[in-house]
């Protein structure tokens, strides 16, 4: 089976989708001829033509609004916002229109579309190319939120997202586009080709939305993570030699609560990892759910590992990023007594 990095897997998903359904159209800033600044849409314009794959003006509000109009017409927009940090001019369209349209029209105008956007830090992108704004979207009723952590999942989730009847926003952890970065920024990153989830089947397959994956089985504690933090968590439990169960959420909304409950009930301890700032982050929602639903199984308070409540500082991104040291401390805390 061919191995792919996450960019190639996402690119392949586009091809599969566009070959199967000529209603799928792709656009975004630099997404047409050039194939996107991260090259996810490379070669698509050549294969599918300029009216299905094209460059968009630098107007995120416009890009999302065009997608609303296209979805209203009945075709399937699969759009790229170049960086998640750039999504805010499109936020009104997403929050007030995309998310609420099915509800406010009692199902008359569903908004099936996919908004892809690279997020997260670790590339010295400063505060406008590093943010993790997923909780601003998980908070909005009507949106599904997906975050892959491997090439295999990225392709399968993207196909499932485009085939889903509701709007889906996919945050792509750009730090792991080219390899499963585990938080050790001082070590070379292994390429995806050494990772089993880089084996990506050609053709059509889906990773269903709303289904988490147990990426490591264990009995001593449960770690909930998504995106880059899945790999950071895996490396941390290996380093600490802990019998941890690591759950890659893959979809944040709707959440696979069953898998979380089963695991926490088994282990009795829970650590949640997110790169985003701490206050009102998605980890807070997870923490509340776990304590509401698994309280009598818990042997220790639920612990969160997060970024800080500051903008992402350019020079100090490794002091900001929730890396191995923060993981270690939190693991020690959640495993105490």
């Amino acid at each position: 089976m061919p191995t792919m990095n996450m960019i190639q897997a996402l690119n392949d998903a586009h091809k599969v989708l566009m070959r199967r359904d000529e209603d799928v159209v792709v656009f975004g800033e630099d997404a047409g001829y050039f194939g996107g600044v991260f090259r996810v849409t490379e070669g698509l314009q050549k294969e599918f033509g300029k009216t299905r794959v094209f460059d968009a003006p630098i107007s995120e509000g416009g890009i999302v609004a065009m997608a609303v109009g296209m979805a209203a017409y009945g075709i399937k927009p699969l759009i790229e916002i170049q960086f998640a940090d750039y999504i805010y001019p499109g936020y009104d369209q997403i929050v007030s229109e995309v998310a609420k349209m099915r509800y406010r029209t009692a199902g008359e105008w569903p908004m099936p579309m996919v908004i892809r956007t690279p997020y997260g830090g670790g590339i010295f992108g400063g505060q406008t190319h590093s943010q993790s704004p997923e909780s601003l979207f998980t908070h909005i009723a009507g949106l599904k939120v997906v975050i892959p952590s491997t090439p295999y999942d990225a392709k399968g989730l993207l196909i499932a997202a485009v085939e889903d009847p509701d709007p889906v926003i996919m945050f792509e952890p750009k730090r792991i586009y080219n390899g499963p970065f585990d938080g050790h920024h001082d070590r070379p990153v292994k390429p995806w080709s050494k990772h089993p989830a880089s084996e990506v089947p050609g053709g059509h397959y889906t990773v269903p939305l709303g289904k988490a994956a147990v990426v490591r089985e264990g009995n001593a504690l449960t770690i909930l993570a998504y995106g880059t933090m899945v790999h950071v968590a895996l490396a941390a439990v290996e380093d600490q030699g802990l019998d941890a169960e690591v759950i890659d959420l893959r979809t944040l909304v709707p959440l696979d609560i069953e898998k979380i409950e089963q695991s926490v009930e088994k282990t009795g301890r829970c650590l949640i990892a997110q790169e985003a700032p701490r206050t009102s982050g998605f980890a807070a929602e997870l923490s509340a759910l776990v304590q509401e639903r698994c309280f009598y199984h818990l042997e220790a308070p639920v612990e969160r590992v997060t970024g800080w409540d500051t903008p992402y500082p350019h020079a100090y991104e490794w002091a900001y990023f929730p890396g191995p040291k923060r993981m270690k401390k939190a693991l020690e805390k959640v495993m105490a007594d």
Partner: protein, 422 residues
């Protein structure tokens, strides 16, 4: 879905989507002979208090001063003294050398990112020369010339680029996202277009307070597609705001040519027509034309005659940034073939043509500029380069989120510091 079945409306013509394409792609031989370049001196110069519609023919013209013979010609000749011309040339040469050295620094791993303004040096420098020292700029990311023109220390700029101990922004901002209140230079944002309406807001405040200082907002051709561009023009028009609004049309927004921002249909200067404000389209590679147009617009603003939208027509001679390789989307020799030439060479040729400059003096000045940039770099690198940062800055990285540090951030600072000690 039946409502999209084209067969239902059999007698109607089939609709078609137009997706703009640039004139040339990699492999093509650029030929710009189809570009209409009006002769220098041909554009009329309305009175600074003229009603806005009088300027509107100029939104499709091109204000140019430097003629084929390198002499200044026509009503827009600002008649600058040679000292001012030589200062502008010196600043432009400095910026070009600065850009080359910082680009190389990034390639050497001394910092994460850099953006050159090669080919666009005349715009920021001549525009700034036409304003007063205390007027306020809301720049975007290719206006390093504003700082150089105002005599900002090159070392300060480099300290920011290296995020080093001398960086007044404390390592928080991406390289080149300068900010300096004392130099009338507002903080650069990585999000496009945001500064353009902010310039209007600053100028509104100046008008509210009966001040005499004006503001100048800057934006690129690509970012005019953002809603913020239109907010700026709307507010500027509604309140007759004392502001100069500049679109630097360098033809490329990363890989998207200006047609993706609407340039196939109208010039960027023509945006002024719909808002009923003054508009000018200017040869951005002609320092004298840039100076003259900004002087005109500044006087107009200062006398409460209204805002002006100026399009500087130029060409981005290098990649968007150190993260970009333009050979993937445009011919590599386009910059060389650009019909409006190189702004540094043109100003130099003008000074020579009027007998105020020669090759020898130019070589000597270039050597001086080069030495100044090198010495600034040496000084800055003593304060560190990006890969050496990251530990001693942890303490300050929690400051300035708010005026005071709330409990949760104080706790996080303690945690971060303890991580650093391990």
């Amino acid at each position: 879905m039946s409502d999209k079945d084209p067969s239902l409306r059999r007698n109607a013509p089939k609709l078609a989507l137009h997706v703009p394409e640039p004139l040339f792609r990699p492999g093509d031989t650029p030929d710009f002979s189809s570009l209409k370049i009006p002769g220098a001196g041909s554009a009329p110069r309305p009175d600074v208090a003229a009603p806005a519609p009088e300027t509107h023919p100029l939104t499709t013209a091109l204000v140019r001063v430097l003629g084929e013979d390198d002499k200044a010609v026509g009503p827009w000749d600002p008649k600058l003294d040679p000292e001012t011309l030589r200062k502008m040339l010196r600043d432009m040469v400095t910026v070009r050398i600065f850009d080359d050295r910082m680009y190389r620094s990034q390639r050497q791993g001394k910092t994460s990112f850099y953006m050159k303004c090669t080919g666009e040096e005349a715009i920021a420098i001549a525009a700034q020369s036409a304003l007063d020292r205390d007027d306020m700029h809301f720049p975007t990311y290719r206006q390093q010339g504003l700082l150089v023109s105002r005599g900002y220390p090159l070392t300060e700029m480099m300290n920011q680029i290296y995020s080093n101990k001398g960086d007044k922004l404390k390592g928080r901002q991406l390289p080149i996202m300068y900010s300096d209140k004392a130099f009338g230079f507002f903080s650069i944002s990585g999000n496009l277009g945001t500064q353009f309406p902010q310039a209007v807001g600053w100028a509104m405040a100046a008008a509210i307070k009966g001040d005499s200082r004006i503001a100048m907002g800057w934006i690129g051709d690509g970012a005019t597609a953002e809603g913020d561009f239109h907010s700026a023009l709307t507010f500027a028009a509604v309140y007759n705001v004392p502001v100069v609004l500049a679109v630097v049309n360098n033809q490329w927004a990363i890989s998207s040519f200006s047609g993706i921002a609407g340039a196939e249909r109208a010039t960027f200067a023509q945006r002024a027509v719909g808002y009923g404000i003054a508009g000018l389209r200017v040869d951005g590679n002609d320092a004298l034309a840039v100076y003259s147009a900004v002087k005109w617009a500044a006087e107009r603003a200062r006398t409460n005659a209204g805002p002006t939208l100026i399009e500087f027509f130029t060409y981005r001679a290098e990649g968007h940034s150190t993260s970009d390789d333009p050979s993937g989307y445009r011919p590599t020799n386009e910059a060389k073939l650009w019909p409006l030439g190189d702004p540094v060479e043109r100003l130099k040729a003008h000074l020579i043509a009027i007998g105020e400059w020669d090759e020898e003096r130019h070589a000597a000045m270039t050597a001086e500029c080069d030495a100044a940039v090198r010495s600034a770099q040496k000084e800055s690198e003593k304060l560190g380069i990006l890969p050496e940062q990251g530990k001693d800055g942890v303490e300050t990285m929690f400051d300035d989120v708010y005026a005071d540090v709330p409990w949760h951030i104080a706790e996080q600072r303690e945690q971060a510091l303890s991580e650093g000690r391990d």
